[in-house]
Amino acid sequence: MSKDAILGAIRRGLKRGPLPADQRAMLDGRLATHPRHLIPARSRLPRPEQVALFIRNVEKEFGTVERIPDLAGVPAAIADYLAAQNLPARLVMAPHPELEGIDWSARPMLVREARAARDGDLVSLQHAWAGVAETGTLFFPSDPVRPATLNLLPDTEIVLLRASRIVGAYEEAWDRLRAERQDPLSGGFMPRNLMLVTGPSRSADIEQTLELGAHGPRRLHILLVEDEKAPRMASPEQARAEAVSQPGGPAAPGD
């Protein structure tokens, strides 16, 4: 069988047989503890600056961000954005309880359908699970209330993100994923599909020149809900000290 042939060839190359039990246990231990490596310092900031870094990075990658005080502001923000972009007041929306719980009555002309995206949908409203300040990246784990096609088919993707869901580095998002999610099929924490999205779709395949809107959305617009109280930290120095002392700082790489 090819499996045995491949594993056998690898072991011959490594000049050993199958790993002994104690070494396997050591590797499985590394998988279970998944040690962190060096995390760039750029995202270790006091809270308000971390959110500002997230916004700067989104804008650097041609996304747009609008800060709104609470969920009640969502319908007006969307209606005004669509009008400003000359887009019809119609969108396909993630069937997420937080989006469905919004009081949309303030903008009755805004047509909403909660479903997966189809060809011809111009605008989607998606729910972000987290944001990573390090590079302005959104996390979209697929599940029944967060269809992946909403990130792909429409020309314009509007994303709702709570400021409290912004973390500094990817590693913090992995830990949240491990802590918060349980997959119904595997029992693990990974969803079927996890998209990390940084800005709208683009291509530089024609003469190495960047053009936006290759196959995915041409526009990525984030509605950032300011759901955090006043800054937790008194001073930047204090925040940095706290960030450094948090668990999971730099660990030894590799083995």
């Binding site: 594993l7 011959r12 060096l38 990817y170 083995d255």
Partner: protein, 476 residues
């Protein structure tokens, strides 16, 4: 497998240098990748430290690859996926065809994948009545032109805007032949519209994989266009093609490598879409494939483990080495004659197809060392090319002329006094003959060398050794 023309590298290179369109494209593109990478690296003070970490993660994984592959495969199955272990390109092609047949597939969309080029999936599917459609913008035009990619992350690196316009007019015959492409965006929009229908109609989607993650049984793709995501999300069946060295243990390991990948490749901090696929559509999901297959391919890699070429298996296919290579910059990717061009190709191609066919490639290097200095996982590419030159020599594959000249040189090199005598005589003669001319346009027995450049005439005053002896004497 892709037809190999590496044995004709010298002729390929000469043709490439004479190809005006190619030279125009190379000239335009040359600076872009370099500047973008340099800016991204400068903005991340930890980049150098991350290179060491990337190297160590890959080394650790390769030293335990058998174990991680088994853990990975078990986790794919837990996610409802199937792993197809394939030793050879033949087995991998057969596995892909079998899956497509069972799915009753007529058209298959494809995300960009170099392993797919390596094993020749498209030709195999076409020969059996299934239509593969490349959806990466660069790969799409390459398929229209019946060519192969000339660069591992920018397949259409060798083309100019006029080529795009002409090919689109030729291929999209249902559109107005007199339509005007005002900007590059118009070309992009035409491809987007056309390919959208292909995404929706496809029965199977085939992608590659930048990483496989043992911890979660995930395959990871990194794209900017979103075509890979449409390819793997819309059809009922998703096939991920991956070679065995794509393995990493955990999400944290993948994360460190992802911090290196986009910066080294396109100079972005992070690519637009980094997507982790773990199995089949879950209960209640409104989209996603119902079948998930990983075609796990060896095709010669396991033979590299335990040899001096094992280090090449760290490669994460960022293309920084070719972007910084003066040889690639002069002749482009097609001259290399197989799937992988540039310095990484010059090491990998002889490993996978044999040094007898690809022996020219490790010789096509100025040994400037730039490739190694930009490699995100610190592969010593010049050293590995030198190993191939040594093997080529040992196996008597080096041409007779070069062998006999090297023999003559070695005889002198082992006898310093004879060497000095000979160089003193030669320099003296050349300096005498070249007096007033400054340089030689041609020399007897060295016509090949002087064809492309002049040899400066030596200044009077003796050889280096003579001057060195004199200076040391004077300094005392």
């Amino acid at each position: 497998m892709v037809q190999i023309t590496s044995p004709a590298f010298k002729r390929n290179a000469a043709e490439a240098l004479d190809n005006a369109g190619l030279q125009k494209a190379l000239g335009k593109a040359k600076g872009a990748f370099l500047q973008r990478r340099a800016a991204a690296v400068a903005a991340l003070p930890e980049f150098e430290a991350l290179r060491d970490i990337g190297r160590d993660i890959k080394n650790h994984t390769l030293a335990n690859l058998d174990h991680y592959l088994e853990v990975y495969a078990a986790n794919v199955e837990r996610n409802g996926g199937v792993v197809h272990w394939c030793s050879t390109a033949d087995e991998a092609r057969a596995a892909v065809l079998e899956i497509c047949r069972k799915a009753g597939a007529r058209t298959v969309t494809k995300g960009k994948s170099m392993i797919s080029e390596e094993i020749g999936v498209n030709d195999h599917l076409e020969a059996h009545g299934i239509t593969p459609v490349e959806t990466d913008l660069g790969e799409y035009i390459i398929q229209l032109r019946h060519e192969h990619p000339s660069h591992i992350i920018a397949p259409a690196f060798h083309l100019n805007r006029e080529d795009w316009e002409a090919d689109f007019r030729r291929a999209h015959t249902d559109l107005d032949p007199n339509r005007v492409f005002h900007e590059r965006r118009d070309i992009l929009t035409e491809a987007r519209t056309r390919l959208r229908q292909k995404f929706l109609a496809a029965d199977v989607g085939i992608t590659g994989a930048n990483f496989l993650i043992a911890e979660t049984g995930s395959s990871v793709i990194v794209t900017n266009e979103g075509n890979g995501d449409l390819t793997q999300t819309l059809p009922r069946v998703h096939i991920a093609l991956a070679s065995i060295e794509k393995m990493v243990p955990t999400l944290e390991d993948a994360t460190s490598l992802l911090r290196l990948l986009a910066r080294s490749a396109t100079g972005q901090d992070f690519s637009v879409y980094t997507t982790f696929s773990s199995g089949v559509r879950r209960q209640g999901d409104l989209d996603g494939p119902e079948e998930y297959h990983v075609v796990l391919i060896d095709n010669g890699r396991s033979n590299m483990i335990g040899t001096e070429f094992q280090e090449m298996l760290r490669c994460i296919r960022c293309a920084a080495c070719m972007n910084h290579c003066p040889v690639y910059g002069a002749v482009g990717g097609h001259a290399y004659g197989w799937v992988y061009p540039g310095p990484m190709g010059s090491v990998l191609t002889p490993s996978l197809v044999g040094v007898d066919k690809a022996g020219h490639l490790p010789n096509a290097s100025t040994f400037c060392g730039k490739c190694e200095s930009v490699c995100p996982v610190k592969i010593p590419l010049p050293k590995l090319m030198r190993h191939w030159r040594e093997r080529e020599f040992e196996r008597h594959l080096t041409p007779a002329g070069i062998r006999s000249n090297l023999g003559i040189w070695a005889w002198f090199a082992k006898r310093p006094s004879a060497y000095r005598l000979a160089t003193r005589a030669a320099m003296g003669a050349l300096s005498l003959l070249g007096r007033g001319k400054g340089a030689f346009r041609s020399l007897p027995l060295a016509g090949g060398w002087t064809e492309g450049r002049d040899l400066p005439a030596p200044e009077p005053g003796g050889t280096f050794m003579q001057r060195y002896a004199k200076t040391r004497g004077a300094g005392r």
